[in-house]
């Protein structure tokens, strides 16, 4: 579809219609005549013919566009050959177009899901918890912007590649997190979304094998995804990492991820943020039991991550890791410094982490106060239930 869209002056709408037509024709023809030897090329040829047919029909109705249509026909006919090798590369170009910074982020996500992932509008709406009309509208606007503004459907120039790649990876990670943070009720649809993000991340990695961050992101997603069966309990409650039944972790996903982590860490120095986050997830994945976790290694990795991604959340996670490695007092020093800085005042996990460290030191009254504050800020039910239980423990 990307090849067609490029040849049609970036008109992804028409390209989409043409491809759908071609698939419909393929279904009946191939059932009757058998699958051709180069099916992808067959689809492309048929789609081109359909595109030209449609253009002609519409041109006959609208005189004013006659000249434009002739130009489009010529452009479509002049498309380079039908080698199947072109097609996977074109998908990457399409992904870069869908994640172009000229598009609003709220448009990039549904556009990527629709054009690259092939999800339908209802599927996207369900997955992103948006009304269908909203999704449809964002898609229409985004496609128009791609066409009218001349957003190129191609890999960006080498000097622009790192920034654009960051955008593509950020969108894919957003999609993954939409699917990852599901409660039991929505699990089925959302798991497909996470799987879709992984699939697309794999495409990016295979097309840019010497780039470390696509490998890092893919590894990170695989490792997080590997825990999906163990993350949610019978009643739909969230099961913390240390309490998860590790026999329910997906060992295939982990086995795929670990070599990717090594690759991502060594392809370029210093390692990028996805590579480091994946490395941290890998330390957990390698521990057969929670007690066997190499927390010192995790603390070290968070330290490195803080250099490339100096956010308060990273510092918080580092503090938690240090507390696990060296005891609550060590971690509390860092967490208190963070809390006093005020940066994470509205972040429930800051207060929850503080509460946990205080509780482990036996400072129950202070812990209770911190749990109460965390509870004020916590949004979803499984977390609230967990915090309430801890709060009651401290008050006993």
């Amino acid at each position: 579809m990307a090849i067609l869209a490029r040849g049609m002056g970036g008109d992804v709408d028409r390209a989409e219609e043409a491809v759908q037509d071609a698939y419909a024709v393929a279904l009946e023809r191939w059932a009757r005549d058998g699958v051709p030897s180069a099916p992808a090329a067959w689809i492309l040829t048929t789609a081109k013919r359909r595109a030209i047919d449609r253009l002609r029909r519409e041109a006959a109705l609208r005189d004013r566009q006659a000249l434009l249509t002739r130009e489009l026909e010529d452009a479509v006919r002049d498309l380079p050959g039908e080698e199947e090798e072109m097609i996977p590369d074109e998908r990457l170009g399409l992904m870069f177009a869908c994640c172009h910074p000229a598009l609003a982020l709220e448009a990039q996500v549904p556009l990527t899901l629709r054009l690259v992932g092939g999800l339908t509008v209802p599927e996207i709406a369900r997955a992103l918890l948006l009304p269908e009309a909203t999704v449809a509208q964002r898609l229409v606007r985004a496609k128009r912007k791609v066409r009218v503004s001349g957003i190129p459907i191609a890999e960006p120039a080498p000097e622009a590649l790192p920034a654009r790649l960051d955008a593509v990876l950020a969108v894919l990670y957003l999609v993954f997190n939409e699917g990852y943070a599901a409660t039991a009720g929505e699990a089925i649809v959302r798991e497909d979304l996470a799987a879709e993000a992984i699939r697309l991340a794999r495409v990016v990695h295979l097309l840019l094998p010497d780039e470390p961050e696509p490998a890092g992101l893919l590894a990170l997603m695989l490792l997080q995804h590997s825990r999906r069966a163990a993350r949610v309990g019978e009643a739909g409650e969230l099961v913390l990492l240390e309490a998860q039944d590790r026999s329910r972790w997906d060992s295939d996903a982990i086995a795929q991820a670990l070599p990717l982590v090594d690759r991502a860490l060594t392809l370029r120095r210093p390692p990028g943020s996805y590579a480091l986050q994946a490395a941290i997830a890998a330390v957990h994945a390698r521990a057969a039991r929670a007690e066997a976790t190499d927390w010192r290694q995790i603390a070290l990795l968070y330290g490195e991550l803080a250099n490339v991604l100096p956010t308060p959340v990273v510092t918080l996670n580092r503090a938690v890791a240090i507390a696990m490695a060296d005891g609550p007092a060590a971690g509390l020093a860092l967490v208190d410094a963070l809390a006093n800085g005020g940066a994470l005042d509205d972040y429930h996990l800051l207060h929850a982490a503080r509460a946990d460290l205080l509780r482990r030191q036996g400072r129950r009254a202070e812990a209770a106060a911190a749990y109460a504050r965390a509870l004020e800020l916590a949004a979803n039910d499984p977390e609230r239930r967990f915090l309430t239980a801890r709060l009651e423990e401290c008050r006993r």
């Binding site: 004013r64 000249l67 503004s149 001349g150």
Partner: protein, 119 residues
């Protein structure tokens, strides 16, 4: 593809600039314009006089309604423009980024609405 490159900036920032600094700034603009011309991407452009010199015109029931000043008061004002003819948006962005106005202001890129020549 044709774009209009619109240069927005805070006019008040120019009032306190020394003559030497003004000349240095102008040199940057001239060299930018030259670079675009040599690359064959710009078909024209102009700097605009400040908004204090602007006149707004509307129609009020058949009579012109003329007032002093620009249409709207904004934090950044339109200071100039270029017309670009480039391959795609990424190339337009490259030139917009090089524009001296991008350092302290905002460049807006607008695709030109093309109409096929009527036969």
């Amino acid at each position: 593809m044709r774009y209009m490159l619109l240069i927005y900036g805070d006019e008040s920032a120019y009032s306190n600039v020394s003559e030497a600094d003004q000349e240095a700034q102008l040199a940057k603009w001239f060299s930018y314009t030259e670079e675009m011309r040599n690359a064959g991407v710009s078909t024209g452009g102009d700097a605009l006089q400040p908004t204090a010199t602007a006149t707004s015109v509307r129609d009020n029931g058949g009579e012109p309604l003329v007032t002093d000043g620009p249409f709207a008061e904004t934090k950044e004002q339109l200071g100039g423009y270029y017309l670009l003819d480039v391959a795609d948006l990424d190339e337009a962005i490259k030139w917009a980024h090089k524009c001296p106005g991008a350092k302290s202001g905002t460049i807006e890129l607008r695709p030109i609405m093309e109409f096929p020549d009527t036969p």
